[in-house]
Amino acid sequence: MTARTAFAVIAFAAALIAPFVVHSDFWMGFLITTLLYAYMGMAWNVLGGYAGQVSFGHAIFFGTGAYTSTILHISFGLNPWLGMVAAAVAAGLVGALIGYLSFRYGLRGSYFALITLAFAEVFRILANSFEFTGGGVGLYVPLKIGWWNLQFPSKTGFYYLALALTCLSLAIGAWLENSRFGASLMAIRENESAAEALGVNAFACKLKAIILSGAMMGVGGTFYAQHYLYIDPTIAYGPGVSVEVLLVPIIGGLGTMLGPLLGSAVLHGAGELARRLMGDVPGLDLVFYGVLLIVMVRFLPEGVIGLLRRRHKPGAAHA
């Protein structure tokens, strides 16, 4: 067993026993949020990090997932667990639509980023206008506590679900780093024209990446809706989620397997640290948090993972 495998096993075991050690619901909530955003950060990372197709509007998939499972649950009585599958399918289809339209016409870089932002905004306005989405009023998920309703009586249930999703996202990251498909995405990221010249079907690869990324985000949307029991167009399609899932891999390390997990831990840890340090003065914690982010992006351009790699390079200590 290598040191890396041993560390992974210990970390996984620690994560499994965490609910038995952490008795604070607040810290359990903190862990759940951290894991959920690590998972959604990896969803963004599949497209933005590995494939290099930076999206500013990933909330479109999150919102589609949240609305799909919630509408199916409220209007048709579909069990939220099945709704989660439907959310993945619906968000994946939205990804296919956006991907087809964007990649078919060669949108890249900032143009692609802007088109995703525009799509998210269009969906927000549509969700505001239709009756079946509850319009601006939003949708309230009926309170029916029970694991079969995806509403756990304690935080432990949500924690294990978030942990399972995070493990799934890490497995996806590992697969991308060791598969031909992942190599193709990375080749596209580095130089799309060169990748195509070597026989990579860039259009198909990018389309698959956005479908996978969208489906993952859709599951995250259902998780959010079932956890907080309310969604409205701003929560679902607003810029908040888009920015947060983008920040997580940027802080942790773009296009890396552990980047989103590290980024989420640092991002949420810094947020909580700021709240505790700054006391009751309204907004001061957000100022501190903002400054911290600026400093991190300025001095850690490769993210936290870049820092760890530098520290473990042979001779780094003497550098």
């Binding site: 604070s24 619901d25 607040f26 359990m28 909530g29 903190f30 949020t33 505001n128 206008s129 319009g135 601006g136 009023v137 939003g138 309230y140 009926p142 309170l143 009586p153 304690s154 959010y224 956890h227 907080y228 029991l229 309310y230 409205d232 167009p233 701003t234 929560i235 908040g240 709240r275 009751d280 309204p282 907004g283 914690d285 957000l286």
Partner: protein
């Protein structure tokens, strides 16, 4: 050779002793002090940052004034004069942050929580508090779903949306009939979120039943800074009555645009109007605010305690908004429950709130009577901006002025 006697203290023992002493100093003595001056921790949870931070800040101010008054008057007497210790929390205008703050307040030992202003946040915070059986007094949060989910820990002192809209429509019908039915057509201008959209959909369903024709309903985004196109639509439609339903900034900008373009109607009638019952609006834009009517949370102008609070709030440089006095009342409501419960156990406080018949508030309500967490004694009132002041015009038993309706034609 060094001889060590039993009385000698090694460096390690000295350090351990010092550490223990420090621990007692930092932890033990405050515990003793706490025992001497007992306190009751109450979570004051509002969105003091983010999109609705103005309302959150006003809410917090109202709660803190009440806590200061109660503590100055000797605290909770049934608990040996225990002082109320506010645990301030910020929901950052987000439901998920609000729910996380509930966990923090629960672990910090809060016996109850007051807040969190917005319905969307209240949905998340009340459910989170219910898991700990933590009493949660909802200060505003008008959405009916806040109190219709069977949560036994949730209590709302103020009226909900359904009751407010029903009262507003009934009062509009009375007002119109008393004036000889001058209003036949109505135009609704509302913001796009839960509050404005919910209101617009209810009005579209209910007003036609009372003989009003809705000529158009216009939705606008938040924020909207230019209302000139919407006002052009109003001019083209020529409604008898305009019903705006939006937050403060948009309300004020819309009312100003109506005045600038000299739109003549028989009245502006708001329901939970963001600016219509605001002294800030009346003070800063008296011309646009003149004759505007509203059906909203409002204090009883006949009560001396209400007027004294208004003075106190204004002396602090704040406007006396509904967020201030509703939170003020909620703290007193909780204090009354604590006095009657004579306990800080959550189940005792919930029982005391559920059986509350508190009537020493500053609102135009009867004694509190909670049915499924909603205070059935609560009611909104109609106000109108008259002579650069906000007057109560309905119900008549609380009225401080007669309604001016239809509003006189205004020149210039």
């Amino acid at each position: 050779m060094m001889r060590r006697t039993k009385t000698n203290v090694t460096r390690r023992q000295l350090l351990a002793g010092a550490a223990a002493g420090a621990a007692i100093g930092t932890l033990g003595f405050p515990a003793v002090l706490r025992a001497q001056v007992p306190s009751v921790k109450v979570g004051i949870l509002h969105p003091v940052t983010g999109a609705i931070s103005y309302s959150g800040t006003q809410s917090r101010a109202g709660a803190l004034i009440a806590i200061e008054e109660i503590n100055a008057a000797g605290g909770i007497k049934a608990l040996g004069g225990a002082k109320i210790e506010p645990l301030l929390a910020d929901a950052q205008s987000r439901p998920d942050v609000g729910a996380a703050e509930i966990e923090k307040l629960n672990e910090a030992g809060a016996v109850a929580v007051i807040g969190p202003y917005a319905s969307a946040i209240a949905i998340a915070t009340t459910a989170a508090a219910a898991k700990h059986n933590l009493p949660h007094l909802v200060d505003v949060g008008v959405a009916d779903q806040v109190v219709t989910r069977g949560l036994t820990n949730t209590f709302r002192f103020a009226p909900g949306l359904a009751k407010t809209v029903e009262t507003a429509i009934n009062n509009l019908v009375k007002l119109n009939e008393a004036a000889g039915k001058p209003v036949k057509t109505v135009m609704i201008i509302h913001e796009e979120s839960a509050f404005g959209s919910g209101m617009a959909s209810t009005l579209n369903a209910e007003l036609p039943k009372h003989g009003f024709e809705i000529v158009e309903t216009i939705k606008h985004a938040n924020p909207t800074r230019d209302f000139s196109n919407i006002v052009l639509r109003v001019q083209a439609r020529k409604p008898d009555l305009i019903i705006p339903s939006n937050y403060y900034n948009e309300y004020v900008l819309f009312a100003r645009a109506l005045r600038q373009q000299r739109v003549q109607t028989k009245g502006i009638y708001s329901i939970l109007g963001g600016g219509a019952s605001s002294y800030k609006f009346v003070k800063e834009f008296p011309d646009a605010a003149a004759y505007v009517m509203d059906c909203n949370h409002w204090f009883d102008p006949r009560k001396a305690q209400a007027l004294a609070l208004k003075d106190k709030v204004e002396k602090q440089g704040l406007f006396f908004t509904y967020e201030v006095f509703l939170n003020y009342c909620n703290v007193y409501l909780l204090a009354d429950a604590l006095e009657r419960a004579a306990s800080t156990k959550r189940e005792d406080i919930i029982a005391a709130l559920a059986s509350s018949t508190w009537d020493k508030h500053i609102m135009p309500y009867g004694p509190t009577k909670f049915v499924n967490g909603q205070n059935e004694g609560a009611q909104p009132v109609n106000t109108q901006v008259l002579d650069n002041d906000i007057k109560v015009i309905f119900p008549l038993e609380f009225a401080s002025a007669n309604a001016v309706f239809p509003v006189p034609e205004r020149k210039g």
